[in-house]
């Protein structure tokens, strides 16, 4: 008997409790279910596990680069500075919450398949990286709320909530998505849905006569920003140097020279500035390493998940990553990105002069990756319902959302709330904050109220799907009719 206990203990503690091995096993099981060859199963499992370890290596680099940055911002402004980047916070949370979130991913995927199979919400969420982020987020906020020793409950409650949110959000976006794509074959599965729906709704409100963004010529010089390695590093360089120069003005020299301890060659301002420069590059390097790891994990997991989903729920709509809408409005996505960035800066100014001093809110600096993808998506949705005005206003409001919501989220993330990064997209912000607040009621009360909240969301989405989506409701029909009339007039004349 003792030998059996020892073996089980070994398996649970030394294998299933190590997120990298767990992810590798999940990938291998998925590949077996797809009837891949033994070589592909072994290779895929090994690669997924190593991808997870690469994630951790990247997190070390990013954390080392962000720590002096946070220190610098604190010395200059007295506030806690945060750059929301999902990949970074997930990698930082991996050592403590990785195992819980790995179980959450698998279980929530099964719950989502059941919901898609047996309810009208027929969506299969296939954006693998957002599943990883949402699972990590729920593992963090529920663990913090419930307190130590409730990891099984965290997995149970978290996977139900995550299964629900994965079918609910695509449903809410569907009428707008149909307006974007012009048919009803695709759904959007990206946890910034509130930003997209809001952009679509604002577009319908303000842009009845506004012309489409796609009628205008857009400068090609901004295209290099599509490369996230370039744009992320450039933005970090600007942010780092702004605060470094600000520090030279506002902070005494002796104090300032301690910020980049070890990275500076001498106690001169020149050495200090170049240390800031080097740290900004390190941030870009760390994010690239993390992305490499994410790419490897998803390369093994997503095809397995999709293969299983196709068998269990044939005919369900695939809910896909947001860049899938960019071809429906390439100009709109760039306009939305810029408008979102401006909105983020406006919200940052509000926090710096108003909310920060009053409520101690963290300074949320603009993260390039969320603004590019979320703002771009909001621009496309805003353009589909409200032309240029819709794209600009939708992007701008989205930018404010993804600045205020991450600030709210920080308050429920426990010790990770002090990290220099957080989750960047809107749905992580509102969903995580609400679930985090409810879970503070303790293990029993918290799980009941959080599940109740999930049930309300689910019921609302069910009603929305049956009454609006299935009846073919489309937003901004007045605008579409006007455009049809214009087109007819143009061809007639």
């Amino acid at each position: 008997m003792n030998a059996l206990v020892a073996v089980l203990d070994f398996i649970s503690q030394e294998i299933l409790n190590v997120p990298a091995y767990l992810i590798g096993i999940v990938a291998a099981v998925g590949l077996i279910a797809l009837r891949k060859s033994a070589g592909q199963v072994i290779g895929g499992g090994l690669k997924a596990a190593m991808g997870y370890l690469i994630l951790g290596a990247g997190a070390t680099v990013v954390t080392a680069s962000l720590a002096p940055f946070g220190d610098l911002i604190f010395r200059v402004t007295g506030a806690h500075g945060v750059v929301p980047t999902n990949e970074v916070i997930t990698a930082q949370a991996a050592s403590e919450y990785g195992t819980t979130s790995a179980y959450l991913i698998v279980l929530s995927f099964l719950i989502m398949l059941l919901l898609a199979r047996f309810t009208p919400l027929k969506y299969v969420f296939l954006t693998g990286h957002h599943m990883v982020f949402m699972a990590t987020l729920l593992a963090v906020v529920l663990s913090v709320g419930f307190g130590p020793g409730h990891s099984a409950l965290v997995v149970a409650v978290g996977s139900v909530l995550m299964g629900i949110i994965m079918v609910v959000m695509p449903a809410f976006a569907q009428p707008y998505m149909n307006r974007v794509t012009g048919d009803d074959k695709l759904a959007v599965g990206h946890f910034n849905t509130v930003g997209y729906v809001l952009a679509g709704a604002l577009g319908s409100a303000v842009g009845k006569r506004s012309r489409s963004t796609e009628d205008m010529k857009f400068p090609q010089g901004l295209r290099f920003l599509r490369d996230s390695m370039v744009s992320t590093t450039l933005l970090m360089l600007v942010l780092y140097l702004v605060f470094a120069v600000w520090g030279m003005i506002a902070v005494p020299k002796e104090e300032l020279m301690g910020v980049f301890e070890g990275a500076q060659t001498s106690d001169t301002y020149g050495s200090y500035i170049m240390a800031a420069f080097a740290q900004a590059l390190q941030f870009g390097i760390g994010v690239s390493i993390i992305l490499y790891g994410v790419r490897i994990i998803l390369g093994e997991l997503v095809p397995a998940f999709q293969g299983i989903a196709n068998r269990v729920v044939p005919g369900a709509k695939p809910a896909l990553d947001i860049p899938i809408v960019f071809p429906f409005g390439p100009n709109a996505s760039l306009i939305g990105f810029i408008a979102s960035f401006v909105g983020g800066l406006a919200a940052l100014a509000l926090i710096a002069v108003w909310f920060g001093p009053a409520w101690g809110m963290a300074l949320i600096l603009p993260g390039m990756v969320p603004h590019f993808f979320d703002g771009g998506g909001a621009g496309v949705f805003g353009n589909a319902t409200g032309g240029r005005r819709g794209a600009i206003l939708g992007g701008f409001v989205n930018g404010m959302l993804i600045t205020f919501l991450p600030a709210a989220l920080l308050t429920v993330m426990g010790s990770l709330g002090l990290a220099n990064s957080t989750f960047g997209d809107a749905d992580f912000g509102w969903f995580g904050s609400i679930v985090g607040l409810l879970s503070r009621l303790g293990a029993a009360g918290g799980s009941l109220t959080a599940l109740g909240f999930g049930a309300i969301l689910f019921a609302a989405a069910w009603w929305y799907q049956v009454r609006l989506v299935n009846n073919g409701w489309l937003p901004a029909s007045e605008r579409a009719a006007l455009q049809e009339a214009n087109k007819a007039a143009a061809t007639a004349s």
Partner: protein, 90 residues
């Protein structure tokens, strides 16, 4: 043959494209090894690939490569991918 699917970040849409390319390749009877890349590393990845598949906007960023590029407008349309593959492999 080695096929590389390219999108902005190399984790979302390129993954979707990869799965559909695999499906298209197997229905064409092609023996294809499909990988993904982001736009930043795509030029390096192209060196070891026989074909690159990406969107029209990103294809403009990848000009000047010796590797042929197939442009796909709808990443979810397997028949469009099949047609593009057929054209580039003949």
């Amino acid at each position: 043959m080695n096929i590389t699917c390219v999108c902005g970040m190399g984790i979302g849409t390129s993954m979707l494209l990869k799965m559909n390319v695999e499906q298209a390749a197997s229905s064409l009877g092609l023996d294809a090894e499909v990988s993904t890349a982001d736009i930043g590393t795509a030029k390096g990845a192209a060196q070891s690939a026989d074909l690159i598949i990406t969107s029209a906007e990103l294809a403009e960023e990848l000009t000047g490569l010796s590797t042929p590029i197939a442009v796909v407008h709808n990443f979810t349309d397997v028949s469009e991918i099949e047609a593009a593959l057929k054209e580039k492999t003949q």
